[in-house]
């Protein structure tokens, strides 16, 4: 498991996953509140079965699918990935999921499709953060199509062999391990193939702080946090910071950005 995620050069020891309790109790999911414990406290009220996902845009097989009709035939793999938040903390998560590329193959992106856009559910009755309008909901994210097709890009349905907890983005979420965590959009209800760069929530809120690409990059300064190092969750009171790795330790994605100035396209 996770072999593809762990280039030997980037690390000296195998990745040690965080505990299920840690992964389920320290979350950013602003629909359920801005505190790290709010999602665990509030997300339980969200119904994830039945769940529908709308697929539209430049795609051969658009439609509104029941979740199982959309992904029931995908091959679920274990992937142990580093997870790096833009707030300069990190975890290691043992995801269960399938490659987004496999789903895209089934959906059939059309000739002109260059980007993929995602949207999170908006259910005000069970989402206090939506009622308080802490962000411009629905939460939207996107990738360039070649990023979406990269074999590291995962659609997760579980972790530690258990279905995703709601606070972790049940029933279906994106995981892009070389990008800051906010790119890995949760509880997806819409997937759109498009020919232009889609809007993304944090970029819309503050373009200076959050770019479209948002690749983990210790050398590109963020106005709010230095990205040179990170706190590893679960180390306790006396754990020390660790250096942040370029592309979060996944250098195999570098060819996607060849010829781009990553300090401009941050």
């Amino acid at each position: 498991a996770g072999g593809i995620a762990a280039p030997a050069a980037a690390q000296s020891a195998p990745l040690e996953p965080n505990t299920l309790e840690e992964i389920r109790s320290y979350n950013n999911f602003y629909e359920f509140g801005t505190g790290k414990g709010d999602p665990a406290e509030n997300a339980g009220a969200m119904q994830t079965d039945p769940w529908q996902v709308t697929v539209d845009g430049l795609v051969d097989n658009p439609g509104t699918y029941a979740l199982d009709d959309l992904i029931g035939d995908m091959t679920i793999e274990d992937r142990i990935y580093r997870f790096r938040c833009v707030e300069a903390w990190s975890m290691v998560v043992p995801w269960n999921g399938f490659e987004l590329g496999d789903l895209l193959q089934k959906l059939g992106p059309q000739e002109g499709a260059k980007f993929i856009a995602f949207e999170t559910a908006v259910i005000p009755e069970v989402m206090p953060g939506v009622r308080r309008r802490v962000l411009d909901f629905p939460y939207v994210e996107g990738l360039r199509l070649d990023e979406a097709m990269h074999p590291l890009t995962l659609m997760a349905t579980g972790l530690y062999g258990e279905p995703l907890a709601n606070q972790n983005g049940a029933p279906l979420r994106l995981v892009v391990p070389w990008k800051y965590g906010f790119k890995s959009i949760k509880s997806i209800v819409r997937i759109t193939l498009t020919d232009e760069m889609p809007p993304t929530t944090w970029n819309r809120l503050n373009a200076r702080e959050y770019g479209f690409y948002s690749n983990v990059n210790p050398n590109v300064d963020h106005p709010r946090w230095s990205q040179a190092s990170e706190r590893v969750i679960g180390g306790g009171l006396f754990s020390s910071r660790q250096d942040t790795l370029m592309f979060n330790g996944y250098p195999e994605v570098a060819p996607l950005y060849e010829g781009m100035d990553l300090s401009v396209a941050y």
């Binding site: 309790e21 840690e22 109790s25 320290y26 602003y30 801005t34 790290k36 414990g37 707030e87 903390w89 308080r132 802490v134 962000l135 809120l205 300064d221 106005p223 709010r224 946090w225 230095s226 040179a228 190092s229 706190r231 969750i233 679960g234 306790g236 009171l237 006396f238 754990s239 020390s240 910071r241």
Partner: protein
């Protein structure tokens, strides 16, 4: 009622308030070390100490309005609250330096210069140093009461900087830090208005 309160307050020694005010520090460290503050205890502890700092500053700012508008005289505790807030800000800063940043001096120095919310927090801390150092009877005698009071009005700026620091550390506009700012602005406004209406009556800030 007010008289009883004032009589009771006269009997409470300031050192008792000081010692009581220090107790949350070991308690919060204990909770952080034993999992009571969640899976990321360092950030949680840092935040708790920052909140206590701001709350103690606000408590100190309440003393004068309480006396002026409610006749409650807690003035002898004002310096105690100020010194306590300084202790908490030192712990807050110490957690950032030692536990959060793991003594990465280069990165900290860059953050102080480059991140506005850290710059503002550090300015507030530096402004608190002379106030803490002069919070004793000897300093008041040496400086003279008027000069001492004038200098200690710097706490108004410190409170506003502290609230700004709290607001800016959030990624979105949050209600809680805005409430702190509103309370501080309210307490400062209480000082401004009556002076114009009742000219000639001076009550130290």
């Amino acid at each position: 009622m007010i008289d009883a309160l004032n009589r009771a307050a006269r009997k409470v020694p300031t050192w008792a308030v000081f010692v009581l005010g220090l107790l949350p520090i070991p308690y919060l460290f204990y909770r952080a070390a034993t999992g009571g503050l969640g899976v990321e205890p360092i950030t949680a502890l840092e935040r708790e100490m920052g909140l206590w700092t701001l709350q103690l500053i606000i408590a100190g700012l309440c003393i004068t309005p309480l006396r002026r508008f409610a006749g409650v005289n807690l003035i002898k505790f004002r310096r105690t609250l100020g010194v306590l807030s300084f202790v908490y800000v030192v712990v807050h800063l110490g957690i950032w330096v030692g536990l959060d940043m793991s003594l990465r001096w280069g990165q900290m120095w860059a953050d102080i210069l480059k991140r506005p919310y850290i710059t503002i927090g550090m300015v507030a801390f530096v402004l608190m140093i002379p106030l803490a150092v002069t919070s004793n009877n000897l300093s008041i005698r040496k400086m003279g009461g008027a000069a001492w009071r004038k200098m200690h009005k710097a706490v108004y700026a410190i409170a506003l900087l502290g609230a700004a620091h709290f607001i800016m550390v959030q990624k979105v506009w949050e209600a809680e830090p805005l409430i702190y700012l509103a309370v501080i602005l309210g307490l400062l406004a209480l000082r401004a208005r009556p002076l114009q209406k009742t000219s000639g009556v001076r009550a130290g800030g």
